[in-house]
Symmetry: C2
Subunit: 313 residues, 2 copies
């Protein structure tokens, strides 16, 4: 299939063409930059929802139920699942393949798993490109779901229009720890598994923490209780997401956030290009291997080794 055909089919929303385009940007293959240049002008129509939270919070069920809810409203929904897969196996999560089989095929929701980073960095940029592809392909809602809660994941979720942080009752001893990392990015908070003991205490703690926070935009993030496995609270969650989306659109036209996203995306791309250009030089890959072995044997320190790589390139 030619690039022009791929684009034409992609803009019509053809799932196989979408998948192929995402593979292209993920692998950083030749036509990726040209593809994204063509995709970019068509973006800006989807509402991008980032969902993060600790493992065990039931994010996957919540995302599935939210996706089905939107689907029932007649909307096209894409899910990009960010997956801290092993750099060794590079494999996607088994569970996602199962979800893709049931949710994806039968229900018409597009799901795609992506790793946060390859060996040489840069794949968090690819996930943002994947969101743009789905946007350009005519999806109304794109949900970005993270498995991990690390810095890369936080940065990716920040590129969403609306960021949702999922907690569960009884996380008391780590709520402090989570606070610093992901509390600040939540536009909407969900207490999932809200039929469990401790939900009131968790809500009170969360309200106290949110009361201390000072958002530049003065938004007070709503707290929604859900029981995703029983589809409870999903409509409330949808309403909370819409309320923040409308708020930020009215407030700043979304420009502050959009500029911050663009800046991050630009820096990621610059880094990727700089490294790719360096690796193109004859022998750079071998030189890195060789110097890494020397560092391991303590024949050279890493800082001097870097100078050797950069001086001669």
């Amino acid at each position: 299939m030619s690039d022009a055909d791929l684009l034409a089919k992609l803009f019509q929303g053809d799932p196989r063409s979408i998948a192929r385009a995402i593979t292209k940007v993920e692998s950083g293959s030749k036509g990726a930059a040209e593809l994204m240049k063509a995709v970019f002008p068509r973006t800006g129509n989807a509402i991008v929802i980032g969902i993060t939270g600790a493992p065990g919070a039931g994010k996957s069920s919540l995302v599935d139920k939210l996706a089905l809810y939107y689907k029932d409203q007649g909307e096209k929904v894409g899910i990009v699942c960010i997956d801290p897969s092993s750099p060794f196996s590079g494999g996607a999560i088994l569970g996602d393949r199962i979800r893709m089989a049931t949710l994806g095929m039968e229900k018409g929701v597009f799901i795609r798993s992506m790793a946060t980073r390859g060996n040489l960095g840069g794949l968090s940029r690819a996930t943002v490109d994947a969101v743009s592809i789905l946007d350009a392909a005519g999806f109304d809602k794109v949900i970005v779901e993270t498995v991990g809660v690390g810095q890369d994941e936080v940065e990716i979720v920040k590129t969403a229009d609306v960021s949702v942080v999922v907690l569960v009752p009884g996380m008391g001893d780590d709520i402090q720890a989570i606070k610093a990392g992901i509390m600040e990015i939540g536009d909407v908070f969900v207490i999932n598994k809200a039929d469990r003991e401790g939900v009131i205490r968790t809500q009170k703690e969360l309200e106290a923490l949110l009361g201390l926070a000072h958002r530049p935009d003065m938004w007070m993030p709503p707290i929604v209780r859900t029981v995703a496995t029983e589809s409870k609270g999903i409509e409330d969650l949808s309403a909370a997401i819409t309320s923040y989306f409308d708020f930020q659109k009215a407030e700043t036209g979304g420009m502050v956030r959009k500029t911050a996203i663009a800046r991050w995306r630009l820096t990621e791309l610059v880094l990727e290009r700089l490294l790719a250009d360096l690796m193109k030089h004859n022998g750079t890959a071998e030189k890195i291997d060789d110097l890494a072995a020397q560092i391991a044997k303590k024949e050279i320190d890493p800082y001097s080794a870097v100078e050797k790589i950069l001086d001669k390139s």
Copy 2:
């Protein structure tokens, strides 16, 4: 204090000099590269233990108890806590300050919180440098503890001599998800809060998963049950850590792992230097700001913007 004085005091194990040296590598200030060149030849004596796991698993308590255990054996212990703190506030976790005050001052354990990444990347490299500094300062054990479980954190924990993954009973629904990301890096597994219901089921699930995995080095990771808050199982954990350390040392002299670490560290440093060199050019920072604003307004796409930045630099 001159750089030579700082180094001399650092090698004597002076806490304030260590703290100052870490701040230097963290901020990437001028003398950082020279400092690390001097530090590097003194490294290689500490055993570096990486500890990761989901929020809520009680990692902090476990790390504290393990540190105190080593301390009671007459060893010097340093803790580097990796913290997905917000790029906005840049703040360390309040809880760590409390820990530093109690554990650090009174008990003679050195604790330092570090962010995984700054706005422009590269701070995961700084955490590895901090470990080297503690190593050179004569610490016997350096524990690297992550708050998040994202890709950056996984990569940092992989730079340890022994990686410990902490789980809790009843994580069933997400054990599958965690598998892909962090199962593979665990040399030792801990089921903490082992006085809770479901411990046997979690252990069985874990054993089944580990039975499926094929490690290149044929090591079968031990599973240790702990109740950190009651100091139960800490000695077993220490023994399991030592057993893997001895195993990998006998097997390969640790060379395979050391080379992989060196390679990762080198690539991180190269990226950091490439970006720093680019930013040194007159007007690059302004150009990025300007182009980010244009992307936000959809006047240009990110890929074309990158070409503008790199062509003229």
